[in-house]
Amino acid sequence: MEDQSFAEDFAEIMRDQDASGMSRRRILQSALAMGVAPLAASLGARGVLAADKPEVVVVNWGGLAVEVFQQAFADPYNAEGGNMVIDGSGPLNGKILTMVQANDVTWDICDAGVTTLADLGPKGALQPINYDIVDKSKVVDGMTYELGVANYFFSSVMAWDSDKVDGTPSPADFFDTKKYPGRRMIRKDSQAMLELALLADGVAPEDLYPLDVERAFAKFDSIRDDLLFWSSGSQSQSLLRDGECVMGFLWSTRANMLEKETAGRIKYTFDKGLLQPGLWVVPKNNPAGDEAFRAIASMQRPEEQVYVLEQMGNGPANPAAAEMVPEQLRSANPADPENRKVQATLNADWYIEHHRETYQAFLDRIVL
C-alpha cells in the first residue's frame, strides 16, 4: 500500500508537469532515472492508477468525431492513468442548462462554440476556465475566453457544384441568381451566415464587426425564394451531393469531405470565409472538478490536434501544431496561415453581446 501511494503521488506530479509542457518521453526517462521502473510501465498502460482518477466525460457531436477524439485525446490521456470517456450525444446549449439547473451534471467537457458562451454565460451555467492548469500559450492569440478555450478551428465557406456552375464563382455570385440560377443553402442559424453575406457584399474583414445585421438580412431577403436551410452537417453534405443545391454556405470540414467523395465535382474556397473557434466549455459543478482542466491541458498537445485535422479537417488551436501539419493537409486546414489570410475571424465579444436576439431575428425575418 505504501509503495503504491508513493507511486500514485509521483504519477500525479508527473502528470501535472506534463500538463505544463513536459513530454511523455521525458516523464518516462525521469521515472526510469529515479528508479521507479514499475511506474514507467504503468504510465504506458491503464493500470491500478486509473481507478482513482475521476472519470472525465467529454461530450461531442457524435459520428466519426467519437472515434477520432477517442484515438486523439482519450487514448493518450488514459495511457497516463486518466479515465476519459467520449460521449457523442451532442451538448446542445439547452441540455447543458437543464443539467446545471437540475443540479445533476454528468458532463465535464463539452465541445461547444461561441454561442454557448453567449447563451449560457449570462445564466451562470459555465465554469471559468482554470488558466493555471490550461496553458494559454498553447492557444492561438485571442482564442482564450473566460468561460471557454479554443480546442480547434473550423470555417464556414462557400461551396458549389461545378457541374452546374461554370468557372469559379465569387462569393458575390452566391447572391446573383440571374448569373447562376438554382437553389442555395445556408445554415438555419445566423452564426457565420451573416458574416459571409456581408463579406460577399464587399465589407472588408477588418470592418466586419460590429455586424451590420440589417444589411445581411437584406442580402438574404434578395434571394429568399431560392434559399434552403440545413440544420446538420450531414444534411448540408447531402443537399449538395444530391444536386439539390448549386451553391451553399457550409462548414469547411463538410466541404472538404464533399470534394473528396465527389472527386472534385463539388468545389469550395476559403476566400471570404469565416474562421470560427470550437471551444471546450466546462459546465458548472461538473463531476470531475479540476480534473476536467487537466484533461483539457492534455488535449492541447499539438500532435493530438494534428491527428484530429488529419481525420476530420478541424484546424489545430495550438500554434505549435502549424509546422507539424503535413504538406498535403495544409490547403484543407482552416487555420493554415495561407487560408487565414483570405478569411475573416469570428469576434466572440460581439456574439456574447448580440447572438441571442440576432438568432431570433434571423428566424423571424429570413427562415419563416
Partner: protein, 280 residues
C-alpha cells in the same frame, strides 16, 4: 365478521398504479411546463404577448394549423377509400391489405421521410420518369415546400385514419345497404343515404385523432420542408435547446396543450369520446 366486498374500491386500487405513474411522470412535468410559461424570464403573461407580437410565431402557428387541417382532410379522404375497400374485400385480400397498412405504420417516420426525399427530389425517381417520358422539360418542384411536407404527413397518418374508419364500417350491417337497393335506391343513393351517414362517427373520430397527431409533427416537416416549413414542435425545440429561450418554448408548449384540451372538450360535447377511442 365477513368483510364487505367493495367493487368500487377494488377498481380504484387496480387503477391506482397507472394513475400514480401518470401523475409522477406526466402531470407533474406538464404542470412544470405550464408554470415555466408564466414565470420565465419573469412572472407574468409576457411570453403569451408574443402570440400577438412575434412575426415568426404568428407565421409558424398559421403554418401549423394550415398543414394540420389540409393533411387531416387529405388523410381522411384517402383513408376512407382504403377502409371501404378493405371492408368489402374477401378474406385473403383483406389480410394482405391490412398487412400493407400496418407495415407502413411500423416503419419509422425518419425512414419514410428519406424515402419521400428519394422520390420527390429534382433528380428523384418521379422527376426522372416525367422528364424521360417528355411530360415536363424541367424538374417539378416537389421537394422542400408545403407539398412535400403534406405528402409526408398524409403518408405517415394514413394507418391512423384507416384503422378507426375500418372498425366503424365493419360494424355496419351490410343488409342495410342491400335493403336500400331492394327498395329501389341506385348504388350511389344507397351509399350516400345509408352507408355514409352510418360511418360519420368513425370519420369524426379519425379526424380528431389525425388532426391532433398532425399538430405535433416534427421529423417530417423538418426533413421535407427544407427548413422553411417550421411547425410548432420544431419551433419549441429550437427555443428550448438552441436559442435557450425557455419562456417562449414553454409558452408554445402550453398553447398546444390548451388548444388540444379545448378541442377535445368541444368535441366531447358533440359526440361520445369514449366511443370514438374504442370503448364499446
Amino acid at each position: 365478521m365477513q368483510r364487505k366486498y367493495n367493487p368500487q374500491l377494488t377498481y380504484w386500487l387496480l387503477v391506482l398504479p397507472a394513475l400514480l405513474a401518470m401523475a409522477v411522470f406526466y402531470f407533474y412535468p406538464v404542470s412544470r411546463v405550464l408554470w415555466m410559461s408564466v414565470t420565465i424570464p419573469e412572472p407574468g403573461l409576457g411570453n403569451f404577448a408574443q402570440l400577438a407580437n412575434s412575426h415568426s410565431i404568428n407565421r409558424m402557428l398559421w403554418t401549423t394549423l394550415r398543414i394540420s387541417l389540409i393533411s387531416t382532410a387529405l388523410t381522411l379522404i384517402l383513408g376512407y377509400v382504403v377502409a371501404y375497400v378493405i371492408t368489402h374485400a374477401e378474406d385473403r385480400r383483406k389480410r394482405l391489405l391490412f398487412m400493407a397498412v400496418l407495415a407502413s405504420l411500423w416503419i419509422s417516420v425518419l425512414v419514410r421521410a428519406f424515402a419521400w426525399f428519394a422520390l420527390l427530389r429534382s433528380d428523384g425517381l418521379i422527376n426522372q420518369m416525367l422528364m424521360g417520358l417528355g411530360i415536363t422539360d424541367t424538374p417539378l418542384p416537389m421537394m422542400w415546400n408545403e407539398f412535400s411536407v403534406l405528402v409526408g404527413i398524409v403518408h405517415a397518418m394514413l394507418p391512423l385514419a384507416i384503422l378507426p374508419l375500418y372498425s366503424g364500417m365493419q360494424s355496419i350491417d351490410p343488409r342495410l345497404v342491400a335493403a336500400a337497393r331492394g327498395l329501389g335506391a341506385n348504388r350511389r343513393g344507397a351509399f350516400w343515404r345509408i352507408f355514409f351517414p352510418l360511418t360519420l362517427p368513425g370519420v369524426f373520430g379519425a379526424s380528431i385523432l389525425v388532426f391532433i397527431y398532425a399538430l405535433g409533427f416534427y421529423v417530417t416537416p423538418a426533413l421535407l420542408g427544407g427548413g422553411r416549413k417550421m411547425m410548432i414542435a420544431e419551433y419549441i425545440k429550437v427555443q428550448i435547446l438552441e436559442v435557450v429561450n425557455w419562456g417562449a418554448g414553454s409558452m408554445l408548449a402550453s398553447v398546444l396543450l390548451i388548444f388540444i384540451v379545448v378541442t377535445l372538450a368541444i368535441v366531447s360535447r358533440l359526440v361520445d369520446l369514449r366511443k370514438l377511442f374504442g370503448a364499446a
